[in-house]
């Protein structure tokens, strides 16, 4: 596992978060939640800092990070792709759309492409069921997406 350099300002922000929770061991999940908000993901270094600040073992922090599917150790891509798997989207073929994204980007859910441009995740309902199936790239919403439309969406961000 190679070491990455955490930005000084973000690191300070993380330490402030730990402080705001009074360095309570019991607040680990809340701290991780905020940390993921700061960094977008939870790399090993961030977990080590949190372990030190809260005085818990790194193994314990890693155990919690790997238990909850919300937490991720993968950095998000520049263009995070989220496919809605809510009921409406699901019955209208969201799963096939997801499979097509996986195939074309050659990554699994929760992963990021090696060039760092795309990451793939699933979510449950964005409140646009009328447009089902719905795909989000960053903040942008795509409605009525069919598997054969996937290539076009990806192409928009490949320029």
């Amino acid at each position: 596992m190679a070491k990455i350099k955490l930005a000084e300002t973000k690191l300070q922000e993380l330490k402030d978060v730990c402080k705001s929770f009074n360095y309570e061991k019991g607040e680990l999940i809340n701290v991780l939640h905020k940390a993921q908000g700061i960094f977008g993901y939870l790399p090993a270094e961030v977990q080590e800092v949190i372990a030190k600040e809260l005085n818990v073992s790194v193994a314990h922090v890693y155990g919690v990070v790997t238990f909850y599917s919300f937490f991720t150790m993968q950095p998000k891509g520049q263009n995070p792709v989220s496919i809605c798997l809510g009921t409406a989207c699901y019955v209208r073929g969201a799963e096939k759309v997801l499979e097509e994204f996986k195939r074309q980007l050659n990554i699994q859910v929760g992963e990021t492409t090696p060039d760092g441009r795309f990451s793939l995740s699933c979510l449950r309902c964005v409140g646009a069921c009328g447009l089902a199936p719905v795909v989000l790239v960053g903040e942008k919403v795509y409605g009525r997406v069919a598997p054969d439309g996937v290539a076009d969406i990806i192409a928009e961000y490949r320029i």
């Binding site: 596992m1 190679a2 070491k3 090993a44 270094e45 977990q47 080590e48 818990v56 073992s57 790194v58 193994a59 314990h60 922090v61 890693y62 155990g63 790997t66 238990f67």
Partner: protein
């Protein structure tokens, strides 16, 4: 305390409130089978995650079966521990556990001492009805401990030992569901974690998921090599536990039989780590007195308390967790590592052989010793002072393999000169023993008077942290003792925060000291066994003619002939060491 009346299998019993059904059943002679549950009574060690479900019982009026280890008694409860519903459920639970467990009992290192195996026998499992995908994970071999998590049943005992008792924090359950394993952070190998190799995880693992690195093959090869002179040293705690492997009552002393067995195995010289323990007292005791006298004279450079340094698990612990305090422990090497250079630099020369042609084997109650003897600072041009370290369990295996009828052996004596030891040395095996041995010698050296009463009973016992004040002829010496690394941590934090009042502290990584070491015969959670080993150690001490290290005639001769004086130049070179900061970059490489 409120008493609760309940009926278990038709027998009425009354127990204090908050008692678990498991313990309540014991009061009427019913032993409910358990697997993940583990406890060491009187030592504050308990694991009851209620995870395995083997201990389920039926409680009348309750819809589901209840795990006996976590369900507490209630007034008027009616409990059935072995009706048909319970028996079927219990067996299914076990069959499901076995469905994700490799059926390789024939070759498994734990076979015969495996609790999962004996549970399958006890419940009469004769086939494995559930076949399917099994979890596959890489094997991780560190210098002392092997992790084979395919055999893990997620009982979490190791986690409890590593985190709650030892506060080492090397292991945690990670991932979830079928992918869940117990692993170090980021699923790195143990070697990259803050693991101290204390081996307490191995001591409590019910299966073969955690075992020791076995060096018996190397020893057999060395014994068969005609060019090598093979010397063996045996740690104090081994003689108090080895007999258990051969069906003898816990607490049986087998010193003489152990020596005889080692001779029959083919060792050229059967020596005693106790000799080196006497040597440790000479060096560590001298260092203590030197620091103490300078401190009392107001020397600001002197740091007190002095901490013992004979436990390699403890050394690893402060190197990883308190590196900033690594100048406080004594610089004296452990007895195992003192024995090495004395054998190879002194005894080998006496025999007129090259140190490369001498193989030093140690028999230890410990797994950290395996790592310790491989440390670079304990090698001369790549040749380790101690070549191989075997656990008490490995020695027992070796004896069985070599067709030796252990119980029929006569009692034999250690060889000389490195086999002679005093009572002070043998008590190294129990918590409090090292500091008691040090007091016996330091008292006489400091006061110049003869110590009439050598038994410092105030230093003995199994309380987590013990404190005592020893009167050095008007000078009160405050002594602290901790066994188990979690207890050690408390004392260390006090020192760090400037709150410590102690002059000297003894620390042993394992609960009970070396007698409860990670390489000892499995106690399966019976703390009585550890207590009996402890009393055996003190019995051996009481029976010795010489009970103070500095009175060991062979130690005196060693200083006259070879070393000069304690903490002198030669001692410094051969018998003292230094410590490293291992806290940084444990997981993530630069």
């Amino acid at each position: 305390m409120k008493r609760i009346k309940l009926i278990i299998d038709g027998k009425t019993t009354e127990v204090p409130e908050n008692t678990t059904l498991l313990k309540a059943a014991k009061t009427v002679g019913i032993d409910i089978p358990t697997l993940c549950f583990f406890e060491l009574k009187d030592m504050n060690i308990e694991n009851r995650p209620g995870g395995c479900r083997v201990c389920v019982v039926e409680v009348k009026g309750r819809r589901n079966l209840a795990p006996a280890c976590t369900t507490v008694v209630a007034e008027g409860m009616e409990v059935y521990t072995h009706n048909i519903r319970v028996l079927n459920a219990r067996r299914t639970v076990l069959e499901l556990i076995l469905s994700d467990h490799p059926a390789e009992c024939l070759t498994c290192a734990k076979s015969g001492s495996c609790e999962l195996q004996s549970m399958a026998q006890q419940l009469g499992v004769r086939e494995l009805p559930y076949q399917g995908e099994q979890s596959k994970y890489r094997k991780d071999t560190s210098p002392a401990i092997i992790r084979d998590v395919d055999k893990c049943i997620m009982c979490r005992r190791c986690e409890m030992m590593c985190n709650d008792v030892q506060t080492v924090g090397a292991l945690s359950a990670v991932n979830r569901g079928f992918m869940a394993v117990v692993a170090p952070a980021f699923e790195m190998n143990l070697e990259k974690s803050p693991c101290t190799y204390c081996g307490q995880c191995v001591s409590v693992c019910p299966t073969g998921a955690l075992t020791e690195v076995d060096h018996s093959r190397n020893v057999i090869n060395a014994l068969a090599d005609p060019v090598k002179t093979v010397v063996v040293q045996t740690a104090p705690a081994v003689r108090a536990a080895l007999g258990e492997e051969f069906g003898l009552m816990p607490g049986t002393l087998v010193t003489g039989k152990m020596v005889a067995a080692l001779r029959r195995l083919g060792f050229d010289y059967v020596f005693d780590t106790d000799f080196a323990a006497d040597l440790t007292i000479m060096e560590e005791g001298t260092e203590l007195l030197d620091r103490l006298t300078r401190y009392l004279k107001g020397d600001k450079d002197v740091k007190l308390p002095i901490l013992t340094s004979c436990c390699p698990g403890w050394v690893n612990f402060f190197e990883h967790h308190f590196p900033e305090m690594r100048d406080i422990p004594s610089t004296a090497k452990s007895p195992q590592q003192m024995f090495g250079p004395i054998a190879k630099e002194y005894f080998a020369k006496k025999l007129g052989i090259d140190r490369k042609n001498m193989i030093v084997v140690s028999i230890m109650p410990c797994l950290a010793k395996k790592y310790e003897c491989q440390r670079d600072e304990f090698k001369v041009n790549g040749d380790p002072d101690v070549n191989y370290s075997l656990s008490t369990r490995e020695l027992a295996h070796l004896i069985r393999q070599s067709n030796i009828d252990f119980n029929a052996l006569p009692d034999e004596d250690f060889d000389q000169p490195l086999g002679e030891s005093t009572g002070a040395a043998v008590i190294f095996g129990a918590t409090g023993g090292v500091i008691e041995a040090a007091c016996r010698t330091a008292y006489e050296l400091y006061t110049g008077k003869k110590l009439e009463k050598v038994d410092f009973t105030e230093l003995r016992g199994l309380e987590n942290v013990r404190k005592a004040t020893i009167d050095f002829d008007g000078l009160p010496i405050n002594i602290g003792i901790a066994h188990g690394l979690g207890n050690a941590r408390k004392l260390l934090e006090d020192i760090r925060d400037g709150k410590s009042q102690f002059h000297a502290i003894e620390i042993m990584a394992c609960p009970g000291g070396c007698i409860g070491g990670g390489g000892q015969p499995f106690h399966h959670g019976d703390s009585e066994i550890i207590k009996k080993r402890s009393s055996a150690i003190y019995r051996e001490d009481a029976g010795k003619l010489i009970r103070k290290s500095h009175e060991n005639p062979f130690i005196q001769e060693l200083y006259r002939e070879f070393l000069g004086k304690p903490c002198g130049e030669k001692s410094h070179h051969l018998l003292h060491t230094h410590y490293f900061d291992k806290s940084a970059g444990v997981f993530v490489e630069e």
